[in-house]
């Protein structure tokens, strides 16, 4: 059952990803992306990371994808823009690079070994609930990255406003 679910989610994520890249209509792409994020959340659930599954949907599907959608509406492509390929007649070259990348990844996966187990075993997480385990880790061990994240969010606010807000005269 677990194997079956995993393969379902994994294949759905890959399949949807390919469909999105190939879809002509960007809004259809966004809609499929929404479905894709749900399958990603399913993968997180299989790893017993329920909090991350919820965050996946709330932040990626609920917030970032909305931003994408707004940006799409903002630019409103009336007619499709066609550009000539970056490398002329370079079709076979792209093919070779793709295959080389594929082989590299396969080799890389083969060399993958599990690292040392951390302090949080599944039993401990099950007892604490995943959200609390995350909280304890973030707010004690990883406190510095957390505050840095706060700073990055600040930069995002300032950057977004500086780009999008027209300065009025005298203000």
């Amino acid at each position: 059952m677990v194997q079956f679910l995993f393969f379902y989610f994994a294949i759905a994520v890959i399949g949807l990803g390919i469909t999105i890249v190939n879809s002509r209509n960007p809004v259809h792409g966004v809609l499929l992306m929404l479905v894709l994020f749900f399958h990603m959340a399913g993968l997180y659930l299989l790893l017993n990371a329920e909090f991350l599954a919820a965050v996946q949907v709330i932040v990626y599907a609920g917030a970032i994808l909305v931003l994408y959608l707004f940006v799409l509406f903002l630019v409103t492509l009336r007619e499709e823009v066609r550009i000539s390929p970056f490398i002329e007649k370079g079709y076979w070259m792209g093919f070779v690079i793709a295959i080389a990348m594929f082989i590299t990844f396969i080799k890389g996966i083969q060399n993958f070994t599990l690292g040392e187990h951390g302090a949080y075993t599944i039993e401990k997480i099950g007892q604490l609930t995943h959200t609390k385990a995350m909280g304890e880790a973030i707010y004690t061990t990883y406190i510095l990255p957390f505050e840095v994240a706060g700073l990055i969010l600040l930069v995002a606010v300032v950057g977004g406003i500086a780009l999008a807000k027209r300065e009025r005269k005298g203000a």
Binding site: E50, I58, T131
Partner: protein, 322 residues
């Protein structure tokens, strides 16, 4: 076997909620009618009691008009997204002790996740209709919903701090053993923010700008008709019920009450939900609609600072009192 039990539970909850949705529309018209010294629906059945059934049958047989300029796939998908996000939220609501379809540890986050999904149904239906009114209504609505979603999320952080859990059943239990029995008293600020955000999230008066009929016809579902329109309608009312349930669970003590009613473990829960729903109608009959810039200003400049202040206050008081 387990699957069968889950299905039975889902069917019971879904059936009961659908019945409530049907009669919520009836009582909305009745209550507002009486508040405005009218009778409300009277013709179909005694005191119009069969009105919602007649409405349902009518909508089912109505022609399904799909405008030519519409983007077909997205036009089909949008009402389904709204419906799925509303119906699926029912899965985590504990109606009485030990009865929830799914008792998960991240119940509240699950509700947030699905409610953020609903804004897609709205904005995509507006876009796919390819009509000005629908497009404007969809945009306005999604901007409104995302603005108030933050206020709603932040207003419930105080409850999480006091209960120490995101599991809705645990939140009710924590409330029962707290000193005030309900979180409404220590979390009155959070409750205020929650109620305002709740009205805005469900697109109800005084925040029903997305469907402001005087300027936008019917807003994002202008082009929808028949059963597809009915799905939006269903989603809106189920959304109202969900938000009422969350309010009851997080602030009013869930299924607990002053005394035990034998045989009806859900008695107090249902009573409190009815109070919330009545409040929705009362507000609709009383308040005029906000202007759009006022609406955004209220969300960003009043509710979010208030909710943040509530978190800081709760944190400080709880660390001082230990």
């Amino acid at each position: 076997m387990e699957l069968l039990w889950i299905l039975v539970k889902i069917l019971i909850v879904f059936g009961v909620v659908m019945l409530h949705v049907a009669y919520a529309t009836y009582f909305e018209r009745k209550v507002i009618g009486h508040m405005q010294v009218r009778m409300g629906p009277m013709r179909v059945g005694p005191h119009g009691l069969l009105q919602p059934i007649a409405d349902g049958i009518k909508l089912f047989f109505k022609e399904d008009v799909i405008p030519t300029p519409a983007d077909k796939q997205v036009f089909y998908a949008a009402p389904l997204i709204c419906l799925i996000s509303a119906v699926s939220s029912l899965a985590v609501i504990p109606f009485f002790e030990g009865f929830a379809i799914a008792n998960i540890n991240i119940g509240l986050l699950y509700i947030f996740a699905l409610s953020s999904l609903a804004s897609y149904g709205v904005v995509l239906s507006g876009w796919s209709s390819n009509s000005k009114y629908a497009f404007l209504g969809g945009l306005r609505s999604s901007a409104q919903v995302i603005s108030y979603e933050i206020a709603m999320g932040l207003s419930l952080v105080g409850v999480m701090m006091m209960a120490g859990s995101l599991n809705l059943t645990d939140i009710v239990h924590a409330q029962m053993s707290s000193s005030f029995k309900i979180y409404l008293i220590p979390q009155f600020l959070g409750f205020f923010v929650f109620v305002v955000a709740m009205l805005a999230e469900t697109n109800r008066t005084p925040f029903d700008l997305p469907e402001a009929e005087t300027e936008l016809v019917a807003g994002y579902f202008t082009e929808y008709s028949g059963m597809r329109f009915a799905l939006f309608f269903l989603a809106e009312y189920i959304g109202m019920i969900i938000m009422s349930c969350i309010g009851v669970i997080c602030f009013l003590g869930g299924w607990s009450g002053p005394f035990h009613v034998p045989g009806l473990p859900f008695f107090w829960f249902v009573i409190k939900v009815y109070l919330f729903i009545f409040f929705y109608y009362w507000v609709r009959a009383t308040l005029p609609r906000y202007r759009y810039d006022q609406l955004m200003a209220l969300g960003w400049k009043v509710l979010i600072p208030l909710a943040l202040f509530n978190i800081v206050l709760t944190g400080t008081i709880k660390s001082i009192s230990g």
